[in-house]
């Protein structure tokens, strides 16, 4: 009898010890999402950005992005501006790192000048849009801590909802609430809460398409600022995976030969 009680006791405590906490589940969902989206090697894409102010007036930007997956470190990315015309040829290079500060450079074509810039501006608007630099940066696992909230049905599909808290300095957000679909671990919606914990922006991703039979990419991302009424739409085009880009293409000195 005593042995039976002991066995029952052990069973209960061990299962309690191994029950996944909300934090662990949040992290494991994020890790699974990243695992499914790794191995793409390199990616080129064209982005058209349409900015709309609260009166509905629109202006647009056009840029090209190139990214390189780096094993054991953050990704490297190049952003080449082609519109508006006055900033055509400007190039932004970023080497992201999971824990230490990212390294960033800017190439200014009129002066032929390469300038190393500070990467601590996270919350500032990118090109006057509703996307902050931190929204467009490579989303490394270590940049956040996580908490699983619940599952919901969103747009007819089962979704995980997790909350994540920026672990890097100077974020404009206290937290973000992320919707990922259970089947493919794709981000379909993010709510951004400012440092005072008020809802600031809502991002929704549309038109997911699968590439190379594995990698899902949205062809449209809409960011709405709930405090100002402004919005920005990113239209992605010409996704090209594995075109053979290498470290040299993302070197400081590659900035001058970008074209």
């Amino acid at each position: 009898m005593n042995n039976v009680l002991l066995a029952f006791f052990l069973m209960v405590t061990s299962s309690a010890l191994h029950a996944e906490t909300a934090e662990e589940k949040g992290l494991s969902i994020s890790q699974e999402a990243q695992r499914r989206d790794s191995g793409w090697a390199d990616l080129k894409a064209t982005m058209v950005m349409v900015l709309r102010n609260s009166r509905g007036k629109e202006s647009s930007r056009r840029l090209e992005t190139r990214s390189l997956e780096v094993a054991g470190d953050g990704d490297k990315s190049l952003t080449i501006f082609s519109r508006p015309a006055d900033i055509k040829g400007t190039v932004f290079l970023s080497h992201t790192h999971p824990t230490r500060p990212d390294e960033q450079w800017l190439y200014l074509p009129a002066l032929k000048r390469i300038k190393r810039i500070s990467s601590s501006n996270k919350s500032g608007p990118f090109m006057g849009s509703e996307f902050a630099y931190e929204d467009l940066a490579s989303q490394e696992i270590e940049k956040y801590s996580y908490r699983y909230l619940r599952n919901v049905t969103y747009q007819g599909q089962d979704h995980f909802i997790i909350e994540r808290y920026p672990e890097y300095k100077r974020s404009g957000y206290k937290r973000q609430i992320v919707w990922l679909d259970v089947e493919h671990y794709r981000v379909t919606k993010i709510e951004f809460y400012d440092r005072k914990d008020s809802l600031l922006k809502v991002l929704t991703c549309h038109g997911y398409t699968q590439y190379l039979g594995r990698y899902w990419r949205a062809n449209e991302m809409r960011m709405e600022n709930k405090q100002t009424g402004k919005s920005t739409v990113l239209q992605w085009r010409d996704y090209a995976f594995q075109s053979g880009l290498n470290d040299r293409d993302f070197d400081r000195n590659a900035l001058k030969r970008i074209r």
Binding site: S59, A85, D86, K115, S118, K122, S123, R259
Partner: protein
């Protein structure tokens, strides 16, 4: 080309030959044209200080088209950038320049560039000590941010620690100066007809330069060396053929070692540029350094503020430029709006004398293709022995409208 080296014939021809042979290889390629046209209106606040200078509002129209032509395999690129300016006051300031006419061949570990090119070396904002390849276009911009193309054969070699650039610089572009009527000129006008060179080869001397630049964690380091005709002439009093007192440009041969480094940590960019220059057998040092500090999202807005502080030092007793023992303080306000509105302001203060130079520029985009810039530059309490003394009466406000295509 080797024969040219031995007999010292016109190097420009060899460069042109390399460029042409490159272009003919680019059988089928992608090309694009862009550039801008701009109008400048400048109003001087004070009556002209030197005889014959104009008191009129100065207006100018400038066009800068660019053309790129790239081979399908992206291993070869030809680019051309021209600049043409016409103004209402001083015909000597009107010019057509080739800013760039460069053929480039790319490989994984090296690049070869030949033609007319533009280069920028350095890290500081108030002045560019290390930067030496190109002649400055001070007629377009007295800040030295505008350059004239330089004939060049440039080999770039990528290594794991950084990039090494080797330069052959055949042919020399003389500095242009405003004419008699022009503002922002020396007290006596410069007469280009009296130009002399130390080198017997004159403007055809083959100059040499090399630069290494690398990134080491949070630091960028550049080391450079140059041997050739000084881009800045000595201006010597003379009398020209017409019997008028003028300044005659004399271009000595010089050598220069330079280092430029930047350490980037959090919101601060720490910068240093230093040169050791030998001209006519005597050497001097010059240093500029300081900090650029960014404050992001001031007053809970989207506006960023950058503060710059850059002292300069020059070891010569009588300095040849306005940065002998000076301090530059600058501010940059970026509003991060859809129109990229920006205001920059700077003060250059001499620590030995009373001289002060203020500069404020405000710019923004209008619609998709236009930009507008307002500028005010004030010279205040300029000491008579200051290199800026000749600009004393030349404080101005100006307006620039640009159309990009």
């Amino acid at each position: 080309m080797l024969r040219c080296l031995r007999v010292g014939c016109n190097w420009k021809l060899s460069v042109a030959a390399i460029v042409l042979s490159g272009i003919t290889q680019m059988v089928s390629a992608a090309s694009s044209i862009d550039g801008h046209v701009r109008a400048d209106v400048r109003h001087f606040l004070d009556t002209a200080g030197h005889g014959q200078q104009s008191n009129q509002v100065s207006t100018a129209l400038t066009i800068e088209p660019s053309w790129r032509y790239e081979s399908v395999d992206r291993q070869q690129l030809f680019r051309m950038s021209l600049s043409g300016r016409v103004g209402n006051i001083d015909s000597q300031q009107d010019a057509a320049n080739v800013k760039e006419l460069l053929f480039s061949k790319f490989s994984d570990d090296w690049e070869l560039h030949a033609g007319i090119g533009q280069y920028f070396w350095g890290v500081t904002e108030s002045q560019h000590l290390v930067d030496i390849i190109n002649q400055l276009d001070l007629v377009q911009n007295i800040d030295g941010e505008e350059k004239v193309g330089q004939a060049v054969v440039n080999l770039t070699k990528f290594t794991d620690v950084g990039t090494l650039d080797l330069f052959l610089l055949p042919g020399f572009q003389e500095r242009r100066y405003p004419g008699r009527k022009g503002r922002l000129r020396t007290q006596l006008p410069v007469d280009a007809a009296l130009t002399r060179f130390e080198s017997a080869a004159g403007r055809h001397r083959l100059d040499l330069a090399a630069r290494f630049v690398g990134t080491f964690g949070a630091s960028e380091l550049g080391v450079s060396v140059f041997s050739g005709t000084s881009r800045a002439p000595q201006l010597l009093p003379a009398v020209n053929e017409a019997g008028t007192a003028v300044l005659a440009p004399y271009y000595p041969v010089m050598s220069q070692w330079g280092i430029d480094t930047q350490y980037t940590r959090n919101d601060a960019l720490w910068k240093l540029e230093a040169i050791r220059r030998t001209v006519g057998g005597s050497a001097y040092y010059a240093v500029t350094g300081g900090i650029e500090y960014g404050i992001y999202g001031i007053f809970e807005t989207d506006t960023d503020l950058s503060v710059l502080f850059e002292p300069s030092f020059d070891s010569r007793a009588v300095a040849a430029g306005p940065f002998d023992r000076d301090v530059f303080v600058g501010l940059r306000l970026s509003f991060n709006d859809a129109q990229s509105t920006e205001i920059v302001g700077g003060l250059l203060a001499d620590t030995d004398r009373s001289s002060r130079m203020f500069n404020v520029e405000a710019s923004r985009r209008l619609g998709a293709d236009w930009t507008m810039k307002l500028q005010a530059r004030l010279f205040r309490n300029i000491a008579s022995d200051d290199p800026l003394a000749a600009y004393r009466a030349d404080s101005f406000v100006s307006w620039r409208l640009s159309r990009f295509f």
